[in-house]
Symmetry: C2
Subunit: 333 residues, 2 copies
């Protein structure tokens, strides 16, 4: 697999930080730009965290554009500090990066990158889909210009995580998600079905903390906070791996086992199903016959054990960064 130009859209966020580090370490991704969106934290806080992580990892050259603060309908609800901490990265303090934001919006950056790499750009979206929908409105030809889009979001057979059926990224902007799923491009959807069933354990976190690299260590610190939230979900200190799993599937670091290509509707009503990704999986009893016109590959299970792979890749991040950077991580008090 060769290296592809990538645009990352994120709401950094602890697991976004893991996904970013994973992409930076992958030989198959050439990260050309990052846009932020409100989700786990506000778009502005997400941009701050992204810039600081890039500098820590020695990749300060990757441009970061500020994206949408509010979803299409309504306004940003304040994020999920009980999951990610008030600062979005588990109360870990990073040195403030020297680099500032790129000019223009995240949606503008995405459209520009798509034109710069026609047919080649790949999108990884691990936050609400507000920026992606905005880019589709800026340039309706976008789907023909990009190679594909991988989305962490939604739930197929699995229950939701903000309502009984809705996952947070989709629930935070169902109208944008509906536009993105309907845009007529190749979508890989990485739903809670796989992200909740492939977890990172305390032993994995300890491996990151034992690293000499500042990025793995910082991620290990952040995961301490994240694990405390997931203890309420799983009954033990561990965590789901939403965003890094989407990154790994996008670059081929892990392979899907069951991943039917089906039609997906997003519920944009105001009813109890609002924000649900309605995946047409009625073919399950016959090994998913082809659905004409369907373009969304819904990942339901993996071939591989993801956690050891993730740890291995994360440990390889920023091996070349300086001791100065290494001293720039401060643990939470």
């Amino acid at each position: 697999m060769t290296s592809h130009p990538f645009y990352l859209d994120c709401d950094t966020g602890i697991d976004d930080a893991l996904a970013l580090a994973y992409l930076l370490a992958s030989p198959h991704a050439d990260l050309r730009g990052i846009g932020t969106v409100s989700g786990n934290v506000s778009a502005a806080v997400g941009a701050r965290n992204t810039l600081d992580l890039l500098e820590l990892a020695g990749h300060a050259h990757v441009p970061v554009a500020l994206g949408a603060h509010d979803p299409q309908a309504g306004s940003f609800g304040g994020g999920a500090p009980w999951v990610h901490g008030a600062n979005g990265i588990g109360e870990v303090t990073l040195s403030t990066a020297a680099a500032g934001l790129a000019a223009g919006t995240a949606a503008e950056m995405l459209v520009r990158l798509a034109h710069e790499h026609p047919g080649q750009l790949r999108i990884l979206a691990v936050g609400p889909l507000t920026n992606i929908a905005a880019a589709l409105r800026l340039d309706p030809e976008l789907p023909a210009l990009v190679q594909d889009i991988t989305i962490m979001g939604g739930a197929a057979f699995a229950p939701g995580n903000v309502t009984a059926v809705a996952e947070a990224n989709i629930a935070n902007d169902p109208e944008a998600a509906a536009e993105v799923f309907a845009a007529g491009w190749d979508v890989t959807m990485v739903p809670l079905d796989v992200t909740m069933s492939n977890v990172l354990e305390e032993s994995h976190r300890q491996e990151l903390l034992a690293s000499s690299g500042p990025v793995p260590r910082a991620l290990g610190e952040m995961l301490g906070y994240y694990f405390r939230f997931y203890e309420s979900q799983f009954g033990r200190a561990c965590s789901a791996m939403h965003d890094p799993l989407a990154a790994a599937l996008a670059v081929g670091g892990v392979s899907a086992a069951v991943a039917p290509v089906v039609t997906v509707d997003v519920d944009t009503t105001s009813g109890p199903g609002r924000g649900q990704t309605i995946c047409d999986l009625r073919g399950r009893y016959m090994d998913y016959p082809e659905q004409p016109g369907a373009r969304c590959r819904v990942v339901l299970s993996l071939e591989d054990d993801f956690a050891p792979h993730l740890v291995e890749v994360l440990l390889s991040v920023s091996e070349s960064t300086t001791a100065a950077a290494a001293s720039a991580v401060m643990s939470p008090a």
Copy 2:
């Protein structure tokens, strides 16, 4: 387990016929009345089939009341002749019963039976929930008068069967279903999760056909039609066992393995989720902690292999019926 008075609400229907036969054979059910509703067939055709089956089984004394022809919103859509045949029982012709319909509506019968057996009556509803909702409106005290209600309907983790998320009984009258699930009584929901994963095979059908009893033989004939539809769902001649499984769970003939008690909302919007039973199964990662106020037990898996049990019970039906009745079944041409 002692025998309880039962009210059956059905839209007979091939699998309704199996459920009816199962209840008649069960020592734990004392079937005191049956109401019909439009679903698989019209309420009137369902009543005709029910009366004829009762006579064939030697139970012509069980009263049958005609229920609602149309759902609360809209009108009856014509049923599912491609599943159940134009006559609802797989084009099998039964002798026309001498008994006529009971006076009054199905809803009135249910309310009367509930008052005749306060705290004891059990409801088994295997069609759209129009009559049950009508009974709740006739007598809002109904939930306090009945022991419990078992509903074949809905889908929890499983896909739907009329849309990606909606099961037919609920989809045929979502407004009625919403009232019934919200009525504040103990509900056992038997969703597609279990009815599609416990199937009847051709070998089971042959056992019924080889019976000397007219009822098992008639059911075996009907199942030939039903199997042809399910071949499109499963890729082989077999069938789901929606309604008889609900009957068996209601009388304790089989036991649920995983069956959390959770809140259930019915989607009554006009969006893509209309008719979905939204079960709050977010506790799955922690073995379903108790949900305060929840009253709906959602059956997700069984302890037992259902098909052999079903065949055994069906073979015991109408062993005492006469040779005259035995000659009353005519196979489809």
